[in-house]
Every structure is written in structure tokens, then in C-alpha cells.
Symmetry: C2
Subunit: 159 residues, 2 copies
């Protein structure tokens, strides 16, 4: 499978270990950085990974930062991405089967290497169930325009 992986500095070592493992498992892995332990900003890497998945350059993505929280928020800014932050395999399975998630996020400082591998293995081997879940997933691709980005339609609306 064509996979993409990205992390900030806090998860650089975990990314290297997971990328090597995924290649050993036969996957084609695009490592989108960061490429060292110098401090970087997780949103940059979440956006790069989300773009790669949205463009179809990877079928699925792996997003890593210290807690997984920051990079999962960033990845989910892209309406073509459904990023699930998980810490155990059941959530990774549900992310695929119910939410058709195309990015899995993990926290390098919270989840150990073997648990991370078990989560990713579950993620990569579970199919989306479709059915009643399909309409919900479609709605995730079409979020409402946020109020902050909308044109104002009236002035002086009381808080």
C-alpha cells in the first residue's frame, strides 16, 4: 500500500522506526518529514500529510507528534482527511470501519512502539463498512463554512 508518514521533532524517532517497519511489511512509505530532531511546528507537518492524502499521493497516512493531539487537529483541517487519534487498536479498527479514516494519529510520548504498531496494523487491515456510516462520512467532507470565514449577513448581533 502507498502510505505517507509525518511527524514533528517529538516523534521523529518513532517515525523512523515505524517507517522502517512499514517498509519491511511491504508498503511503499513516503516520509514527509520532519527529517531531524530540531524543533518544528506540528501544524506544518499535519498540513503536508493531509495534502498528500487528499491528492491521492498516499492511500493512508500516519501522523505523529508528542501527544498526537496537535497534528490530528491540523490534519483534520483538510475536509478530504479523516484523521483519528488513537492509543489502542480497537479505536484504530473503528476509525476505519465506521469513519473511513484515512489518517491515523499517535502520540509518541504516550504510546509505545509495539502499541503503535498494533494500532497501525489494525488500521491498515480494516475495511470501511459503508451502509449507514456512508452518509455520515460524506457530511465530514462538506463542513459548513465557519462563521469566521463567512461574509457578515447582519451587523450588531448581540453576543
Amino acid at each position: 500500500m502507498k502510505l505517507a508518514i509525518a511527524s514533528d521533532h517529538a516523534a521523529f524517532a518513532l517515525k523512523a522506526e515505524l517507517a522502517a517497519w512499514l517498509r519491511d511489511e511491504g508498503h511503499e512509505v513516503s516520509d514527509l518529514g520532519t527529517h531531524g530532531e530540531a524543533s518544528v511546528d506540528y501544524p506544518d507537518y499535519g498540513y503536508i500529510l493531509a495534502d498528500a492524502v487528499a491528492r491521492g499521493e498516499a492511500a493512508l497516512g500516519v501522523a505523529l507528534c508528542g501527544s498526537g493531539i496537535g497534528i490530528s487537529i491540523a490534519a483534520n483541517r483538510n475536509p478530504a482527511v479523516r484523521c483519528a487519534l488513537v492509543s489502542e487498536p480497537l479505536s484504530a479498527t473503528l476509525a476505519r470501519s465506521h469513519n473511513d479514516a484515512n489518517v491515523i494519529a499517535l502520540g509518541a510520548r504516550l504510546t509505545g512502539i509495539e502499541m503503535a504498531k498494533a494500532c497501525i496494523a489494525a488500521f491498515l487491515t480494516t475495511e470501511f463498512l459503508g451502509g449507514r456510516h456512508g452518509g455520515r462520512v460524506d457530511k465530514l467532507s462538506h463542513p459548513p463554512l465557519p462563521a469566521a470565514q463567512s461574509e457578515p449577513t447582519s451587523a450588531g448581533v448581540p453576543a
Copy 2:
């Protein structure tokens, strides 16, 4: 504190219990639904909650669905929202201290009531650290325009 809470049907019972507890704790809680156990779509409630937080109608939000995954993806579509899906209090603390998260997501079928309360208690009592985290959080408010929503700038770009 002014809080908002929302869930799909899978988390309706947990929402009721958490809302009652938060009111007992002295918070003003706006329950944005769902208001029964009939099947609904989690994105609708994620979007409603995100909008309430983005508009400042609530300082912080609580988002619930079966796994927490779907509603956390939906909430994070709004660039003014930083939603952290958690299953234990350390992640809830880091979500506030490092990511200035304003919505906490929990999975009703995966996280029990007392653990959910512990997560929310940690979330509500932790301050954002600012400093180096501030620039990263700012970037979460200004995602790049997704490729799918961009105007094409050139034709025939090879995949």
C-alpha cells in the same frame, strides 16, 4: 464556566450524566443535543458544537459519540476549534497546556463515566502554557486552503 456539550445517539446517556455532573459542579451547561436515542449523524452535532465555541457562546465544549472519532473530526473542520480526542486525563491536560484545545472529545462506548469525568476535570482546570506553543496554535487557526477548494492554477499537472 460557560460550557457546551453535544453528542450523537450513541453517547446520549453519557451526555445526560456529564451535563448533570457539570451543572452540579457549578458550570453553566448548554446542551446542544441530540435530545433522544433516535439515530442521528455525528457530524451535525460536531458542527453545531464547533460553531457555538467559535462564536464564543461557550468557553469550552464537550463532544461525544460512540468512539469520539467521528465527532472530533467534525469539530476540527472549524478552524476556530481545537478538539482533542482523549481517553485518559494526561492527554486532556496536554490538550489544554500545549494545544489550547477548546473542545474535548470522548468515546461513550470506550471510556467509562468516571474516566470521562476525570478527563473533563483535567481539561477544565488546566491553563494554556503559551510560549513556544503559541505560534503552533496560531497556525492551527490558519490552515492552507485545501487543494479541493483551491482555484486551479495550472492544467494537466501529473499525479
